[in-house]
Amino acid sequence: MKGFWIGKRTCGLDRAVRVLAVALVLASLLNGLPFWMRRVGLIDRTAYAQELATYCRTPRQSWWLPRSCEPYRRLPNQRYEGIDSNRLYQFSPLETPLKGFKYGVMAGLLLGSIVLALSRWSTPMPWRRLLPVVPLLVSLLVSVAISLQADGLELTLRCLPALLWIPLIPLAGWLTPPRRLQVLADALAVLVVLQLPFVLLETMRGLPMRFGGLPSPWLAGRLAGLLTLPNSLGVLVLVAAAFCTSVSQRRWQRWPLLLASLALVLVARSGTGLVGLGVLMVGLVGETLGHRLSPRRRRMAVAALVAGALTVAGVLMAGPRGPRALPQVLPKVLGRPSLFHSPLGRLKNVGDWITQPMPRQERLWGYGVTAGGSLAAAVQGNDPAHVEATDALPLLLLAQGGLVALASFYGLVLWCLIRDQGSRLFWAVLVLASLTMNITEVFPLGLVLAVMAARSLGLGSGGDGPGPGPGKTSGGHQVESLDPGDINAKRG
């Protein structure tokens, strides 16, 4: 009877994961839909027409479609200074619940995971495996305490939703059996594919926003799809592709997903996305060679691969004499002279932050959860006098939790990298992506990070180690990591 009941509960958990996957896709869509609709002129049409009219006057007219300008030339007021980006980011009270839905999903998942953990209090917990997360949890608690003391309860609570991924890590073990990870991977793949038609429409109708101060003669120089920034789109598709290739058991899914990701990254002009996809593709080719070739041939193949890559890089770097020299092509592809400026450009700011004089307590523990993040900046009115939003995860961690948070997070990532061979590519790509933006604030990357950390730490498996990646076998048999409910159900 007991086994039957647990079996039913396990089945219920599978259903809960499917509901979570649908909610995840829905929340992501709702989060960016109003912003996208404003950019392509489906809502707020008058403002769209006024802003587009800027591009209908010579010499800009030749850059855009002349016929599309005809209706806008008849507008009575032609004094347009440029695109009012702030207007695009302001949403009506009706849209607030749409954007807040993602926090509802995260909070619901956290509460559900707590209830599930409490209901399994008699099941032995892998306490030892939780140790790598403890410093990050301690850092979060200290940051919350600092904010409570400095800014009060209300502001602290309003800034907390962006940090729910941290307490989720020790509780997300129930999401890590392979079939549940597969559901989450499918949801992320759907999210990437859904971006395609939206981005194609934005290519044709999107307002030419000047992200990063880059002048663009094209109607939409950098495309953000259903995200709020082009770099968010690049990083989202990169991490989603890395997650899917690491956990998905549908091997056919890999290359079509990577092709879709490449198309999106190229039109988003995301330098980090492009570098990350390159790393991912080389890693996947290496992994495939590793599975199929003997050690000797594998070494030769890797040597040939490296030599080929270096040759191609050499030809591309040959300068103006090369056929399609990188220095000529890159500014057109990415809108910037250097490919590595995007992922590595913020490291200098991290160094500046660490070396600037400040009290030891703030250096070690940061300014609290009300500092640094995009959400923190938004709830405080985007006023730089109160808080300036950071644009890289190391900076965010330093601002909110100081050196302790920075060391705790990257220590955890390093631990996962060493411990879980099946997801090394995911963690490598995540580290790269973290250097260019606050990835934990891009929904649903915080959730993905928490689930993957739980998997790599082995919090949901019945065995000794982390759950295996796709195709990882033990003794010639497919290994399936089970959560305690599954094990009891099988025994029952």
Partner: protein
């Protein structure tokens, strides 16, 4: 599913054919909606995409109907046929979108469309690539989907 009568096979075949035509028409409709904003320099003809939908729709219908009902294996469940038709729709629109986006990149890099003399070469390139991808990939996609449906009907040892 085993032991279905002949009338069931006919019913499944008709449903599969109808879903195949519907999937092709919906894909064409989605492409028209996606490509409508660039009906500016050289307007895209809705009739062209209608022809495309009818041509590939008939082929997809024949292939799906055959894959769903012919042979000694038990006929496919209607839900499975519907899922396969849904896949046809999604994959076609996704491939057309990818082709359009890659065309935009190619035009930006001056790899394509330098001599078109149009004020909007990227939009025109996107349109050409999206419609071309839908045209070229229609046949292999229809075969693959039908083959997948047929294989899923075969009794497993």
């Amino acid at each position: 599913m085993r032991g279905r009568r002949g009338s069931d096979r006919w019913a499944i075949a008709v449903v599969a054919a109808a879903l195949g035509v519907a999937a092709a028409w919906l894909a064409a409709l989605a492409l028209v909606l996606l490509l409508a904003p660039i009906n500016l320099d050289q307007p895209i003809s809705v009739a062209d995409l209608g022809d495309w939908a009818w041509r590939w729709g008939r082929l997809l219908a024949v292939l799906l109907a055959a894959a769903a009902s012919l042979g000694p294996a038990p006929v496919a469940a209607p839900a499975l046929v519907a899922r396969q038709a849904g896949w046809a729709l999604v994959v076609l629109v996704a491939l057309a979108s990818v082709a359009g986006l890659l065309a935009v990149v190619a035009v930006r890099l001056h790899l394509w469309g330098r001599d078109w003399g149009l004020p909007s070469p990227s939009g025109y390139g996107a349109r050409l690539a999206a419609v071309g991808a839908a045209e070229v990939l229609g046949l292999p996609l229809a075969w693959l989907l039908a083959l997948g449906l047929w294989r899923r009907r075969q009794p497993r040892p």
